[in-house]
Amino acid sequence: MHDRAEVAPQLHAWDRGLTVDQALAREFEARLVESSTLAVRVAYSVLRNREDAEDVAQEAFAKAYRSFSQLRDRERFRAWLVRMTWRMALDRQRANRRRLAREGHPDSWLPASAGRVPGSIEENLQGDLEARERTQHLWRAIDALSEKLRIVIVLAGIQEYDVKEVAALLDLPEGTVKSRLFAARQQLKDELSWMVESDAR
């Protein structure tokens, strides 16, 4: 992930004798590089499919580009992009569900790749099958959350639980983010507790 400090020199392109369009293009390019991972992860947290997530993130960037000159506070680009990507991903998810329902697979909206989580999580668990199962249960539990809790817990996971950053992305007070994060965790643990109970039996 790119550091946001790298973008700062691009913001003052006006001072270097560039035309308005050139300055705009350069600034947007810097924002794109900085925020691409964030956008894809946000879309993936809704869609659970890499291809769909990248499609939605791409459309979100295209939409952001069209309206970029109208964004008054360019420092708020990431927050703007996150909200836009989130909404577009939800729209895509609804469209996918409608399509699958038409095709007679109402419960199969979760793609087969949803359980294949990258990274070292699978190594920490006992096996690939169990990891996929746990992850699928996790996603189902996340989907059961209300939207305002869901976006907080997902963004917290993306931003490595940096409450300040999540608050900035959602334009919320840090206290609100903390309380929603706590509520989301509680609900997730309740949703996933059946696994513990069955283990005890």
């Binding site: 006006w14 691409s36 991972t37 992860r41 997530a53 960037f61 999580i121 996790l138 696994m195 069955s198």
Partner: protein
């Protein structure tokens, strides 16, 4: 469930699982795809005033631009406002306060005139005309000059002048001889200047 051992989720484990679940990286070609997609977009050329202002805000001459902009606006607006104010005052001074003339109710023209119009084959409908125009008082007020309300003599001077006229008319004071003589000479001059034809008309009129 299936008899396999499962671990309970602590906060840190839950956070770790969520972070792992969402922690995907975009494919290497993702940025290139987005750039291609954006290249197909029309350039956002609709720059609004807010963009211009924010562009100025980013430059180091912001206060100077601000002062210049305010100066230009004031240079345009203030003279226009002053001109309008002056015109308004002049109008208020020169326009007499003519009371509204009460309008008579609209009346349709008499049947005869309509029949004339009909006979002449005129298709156009005649517009209703006011039945009466105005009263005598209204006529007087309409005939008032727009200069009637102008104050030409101060109130104190006017009072003194009226008093002088009154005593001269009553002949309670006698004007001094040179004044009388000059007055008579002036009257003679006027008489001499009047042409005979006009004098004859005056006689007829009398």
């Amino acid at each position: 469930m299936d008899g396999r051992e499962r671990r309970a989720l602590s906060d840190s484990q839950l956070d770790g699982e969520i972070a792992s679940a969402v922690g995907i990286e975009p494919s290497p070609e993702f940025l290139a795809r987005v750039r291609t997609r954006i290249a197909a977009e029309p350039e956002p050329s609709a720059w609004r005033l807010a963009d211009v202002v924010s562009a100025f805000r980013r430059t180091s001459v912001e206060p100077l631009w601000g002062v210049a902009l305010v100066g230009i606006v004031l240079a345009i607006v203030v003279p226009q406002f002053m001109r309008e104010e002056t015109n308004r005052r002049e109008d208020a001074l020169m326009t007499p306060a003519v009371p509204d003339v009460p309008r008579a109710p609209m009346a349709t023209p008499p049947a005869e005139s309509r029949s004339i119009g009909d006979r002449s084959g005129e298709v156009r409908r005649q517009r209703p005309q006011p039945a009466a125009v105005a009263t005598e008082d209204d006529g007087r007020s309409l005939r008032r000059s727009r200069f009637d309300d102008l104050v030409l003599i101060a109130p104190g001077d006017q009072e003194a002048f009226d008093r002088l006229l009154a005593v001269v008319n009553d002949q309670t004071i006698e004007l001094i001889a040179p004044v009388l003589e000059s007055t008579r000479a002036g009257v003679d001059l006027i008489d001499a200047a009047v042409p005979d034809s006009l004098r004859a008309e005056e006689g007829v009129n009398e």
